[in-house]
Symmetry: C2
DNA sequence: CTAAAAAGTGTTGCACGTACACTTTTATTT
DNA sequence: AAATAAAAGTGTACGTGCAACACTTTTTAG
């Protein structure tokens, strides 16, 4: 009874999740954005979002929302921030927690994406987004960039096997600056958890480039994440 | 109408805020913890927490909760993470957002703290806390430590004017390791936003130590935070 | 005036990051 | 068959920043 009262005098709110879904394409980062064909803010651009449901962990809600859109349920995802201004959603009061997700752009379900009226848009071309979604994107980008300098999270944007040229282009896209090829390869050579597979990729060069793979066991052994 | 339906099919939840309140005393970090004299979990230790109210930004809720306990409303506070597991609060479902706050331990309101049955407890002596508050403390500590290596947030734990010896003891407490005095002072000397006030503190040494102050204008000029 | 207690002060070496340009390999074209 | 084009791959030298390291100065209390 006392317990009931303890909670019940306080208001309840809708709890939303908004997902900043990063992809990597042609040397540039992209976001998967939706052009809303439903109210509120029909016709405008937004992040992939949804509501937390009863009996659902908030992290699971984020996974569900990304899976419903991309067909992928094994993505690298991290919580960014919770936005709780009173007027942030002009419809009703909604507390929204932002997550970012990293997608290998070769793997997502094209049908699902089309059905949701979603599109990959390169970072410099991102349109204005509804509500406070612009700010969420900025915060997620900053957080993802920081994490990428500390641990090799960006690798989740590449296929299982990748060339060093691809990896360098990815880092250049994430950090937004050119990197010297020799210095980059020296750094990677020191990371024993990025290992040669022995396979050769011939699609991008006549000479062929060695393919590498991320070895999670070696990585987890060296550091605690 | 359509708008109403868009929101109303989704559940609502209690939104809580839990605050990890750091202080600095005798060369060690402390937390301000409450021994609960109310249900649920009466008698156990917890963080300072409360519920977000109607018409209140979530950041403001965090400020209010700390102000109600310490009498201070100008603290450095940052959001850490939102915890949304279904079963994290055994009473009812509550989504809780953790914030950390940095308190100059000379300034807080002792009467208020006593009235709330709250106590400063040094980090190594922190008792087991209710719910997932242990995890919140770990996450906040890691985040605060990281931020302290990047920007001088820790200064918010010291009085307006401080000696370099105090500042060094603070950094040692935050980072959990001893620092060489000469190297430390060399590093500080390069930071033109930490400036000598001309005042001398005689309470801690016979010789007297120069007092310094953090100059926010110079800092904001050099970097964008 | 002697002792004690904290403040304050420079130099050297090492590790890491950065700048910088040419050779190798192979498919395609002529 | 030779020439060309396109990307992969490779080593050195310099500079900056951080870490290791111990003694002198100042003042008050006894």
């Amino acid at each position: 009874m006392a317990e009931q009262a303890y909670y019940s005098v306080h208001p309840k709110f809708h709890a939303a999740v908004d997902c900043i879904i990063f992809g990597f394409e042609e040397g540039e980062l992209s976001l998967l954005l939706l052009q809303r064909n439903f109210e509120p803010a029909k016709g405008e651009w937004s992040l992939a979002g949804g509501f937390v449901e009863d009996g659902e962990d908030i992290d699971d809600a984020a996974r569900r929302i990304v899976a419903e859109l991309t067909g992928l349920d094994d993505l690298y995802m991290r919580q960014v921030h919770t936005y709780g201004e009173v007027e942030r959603d002009p419809g009703e009061r909604v507390l929204s927690t932002a997550y970012y997700a990293l997608v290998d752009i070769k793997r997502y379900d094209r049908e699902l994406v089309r059905a949701h009226n979603a599109f990959w848009i390169k970072l410099p071309a991102i349109p204005r987004l509804i509500f406070d979604h612009d700010r969420m994107v900025q915060d997620a980008l900053r957080f993802m960039r920081y994490q990428a300098t500390v641990k090799p999270v960006g690798i989740n944007l590449l296929p299982e096997e990748f060339t060093l040229t691809q990896l360098q282009a990815l880092y250049e896209a994430i950090l937004g600056e050119r990197i010297d090829k020799r210095n980059f390869r020296k750094r990677i050579a020191q990371m024993d958890y990025i290992e040669k597979t022995g396979h050769i990729d011939k699609t991008l060069s006549r000479k062929g480039a060695a393919l590498y793979r991320f070895n999670r066991e070696k990585y987890d052994g060296n550091f605690k994440i």
